[in-house]
């Protein structure tokens, strides 16, 4: 019973946005919240028409930032985590601790100087300015290291070496396939993190054609304060923006290895 109450509490805002997006501006402020309206298709076409379809551009940008960023991040985490887990070398712990300290860095402490440096390099307000800082994920490296340590038996590595495998080939054809489940988890975490990120793109970007959907919706809301007609667009946009993530979530549930987080990996 109590558990269901929790579930209902978590679903209310989602239900609300589904219902609210079907209302016209007039209905939004006049009819009961959970009764459907008549304006969904109008809202959709209005949203598509807003500044020549910039909304769809935002969604595409989010997909690009999150998809490509998470892919590169998972690849980098994989190769780094493997090296930290399976080799003994000088400076290993120091390097790992420095990387971990990166997790604790407040995003603003990084984003302000990152922006200034990007501006110096002529990259501010470009796709690169959002994509490049998202590739290094200390958290992803940490997860990949835990996973590599648990999933790749030392005997397998040694056996491949005896067979004369070169170090890089050994990583690519022996270790990497064993790490795939862990790396899928890193990809998913990073995808959600980049998709939901607001601070970095908000600071880096000025041109609304390059905005991800979070910054785009925020800018719509800012204008909505002066033009309540935009509220229906914001609400419809909010609904459409959470659909892809919820779909990704429900579709890939089986691949989430949350046990990595609590450090308990059963290999």
């Amino acid at each position: 019973m109590v558990l269901l109450l929790g579930a209902v509490y978590c679903l209310i805002p989602i239900l609300w946005v589904v219902m609210a997006s079907t209302k016209s501006s007039r209905e939004l402020f006049s009819t009961f919240t959970f009764s459907p309206g008549t304006g969904f298709l109008d809202n959709l076409s209005e949203l598509s028409a807003y500044r020549d379809g910039v909304y769809w551009q935002w969604l595409a940008n989010s997909a690009l930032y999150a998809g490509l960023g998470a892919l590169l991040s998972a690849a980098l985490s994989g190769v780094t985590g493997y090296a930290l887990a399976k080799y003994r070398f000088r400076g290993r712990n120091a390097l790992f601790n420095i990387l971990l300290a990166g997790v604790l860095m407040p995003p603003i402490t990084l984003a302000v100087p990152q922006y200034l440096l990007m501006a110096k390099a002529g990259l501010a307000d470009s796709y690169w300015s959002v994509l490049l800082p998202s590739i290094v994920s200390p958290y992803g490296i940490y997860l990949a290291r835990i996973y590599a340590a648990a999933a790749i038996p030392d005997e397998v590595v040694e056996a491949a070496r005896v067979d004369g495998a070169r170090e890089f080939r050994l990583f690519r054809s022996v270790a990497l396939p064993m790490m795939v489940p862990g790396l899928v988890t890193v990809f998913l975490f990073q995808f959600v993190a980049i998709w939901n990120n607001f601070l970095l793109p908000y600071i880096m970007l000025g041109d609304d054609r390059k905005f991800p959907v979070t910054v785009g919706l925020y800018s719509l809301l800012q204008q909505g304060a002066n033009a309540p007609a935009l509220y229906t667009l914001v609400i419809t946009g909010a609904l459409l923006s959470i659909i892809p993530l919820i779909a990704l979530f429900l579709g890939l549930q089986r691949y989430w290895r949350i046990d990595l987080l609590s450090g308990a990996v059963k290999s």
Binding site: C10, I12, L28, T33, L117, Q253
Partner: protein
Amino acid sequence: MAAPASPSTRQARRLAPYGFLAPATILFALFFALPIGYAIYLSFRAVHVKGLGLGSHARTEVWAGFSNYTSALTDPELLGGAGRTLIYGGLLVPAMLGAALFFALLLDTPRIRLGAFSRLAIFLPYAVPGIVASLLWGFLYLPTVSPGYFLLTKAGMSGPDLLHGNGLYVALANIAVWGGTGFNMIVIYTSLRAIPAELYEAARLDGCSELQIALRIKIPMVAPSLVLTFFFSMIATLQVFSEPMTLKPMTNSLSSTWSPLMKVYRDAFIQGDIYSAAATSVVIAAATLVLSFGFLKLVNKRTAGGES
């Protein structure tokens, strides 16, 4: 080491990790180390304006010593922001982790009904960006469109004002509780699933109720993951930014310096004073590190003390 290795392969094995780590090291240096260094450098600089500040050489950057730090640390707005963050975190962290632990324990009881559905529903908000979550809740807080207020007025009552004064703390904390409970619940639930079932068998034979098992066996067993979730919630609380930024247009009682991160943003990009913004952001980073290491030390001491 049974395999005879030739000198060249031994050499390769010694150098391999450095090759594997090169990309991460280079990117980390460029996007973490260099910006942090640059922020520290800027925090010791200031702009010196000559005369009326006109002409090309009227504004020069000069060495400022600790002056940015003294003004940051004595700034009532930063202290106020820290205080507000503390109140917000004091509401948010216990409520979120308490709910997460409670739901995780419920999910872990035998013969629970609709467990899979509830687990998914409670986890779902994790996929919703903070901006969008604040937007949705913001509308639910508005008396003109909210179903809660609609029902209350129908019943002849007036609802609480969540967009002004102290109601704001509840409003903001609720958004974060909604977004974070499910994720933490899953982390705790996962470590509950890892406890061997034999542990409960004996307790059940002794006639322990599910509640006693939860209190005496389960909660102590998942203590490490509670520590972990507490740690990450604490760090996230310090960095609250997008929720108050989103609610700001809906209310006039959220200042542009409500949270420390908002203040850094305002100083750097609205007032154009990157030097004091840099100093403030270094102070926030230092506070985060001190808190983190202090917390980790405390936890290690407690667990080491518990084992001896």
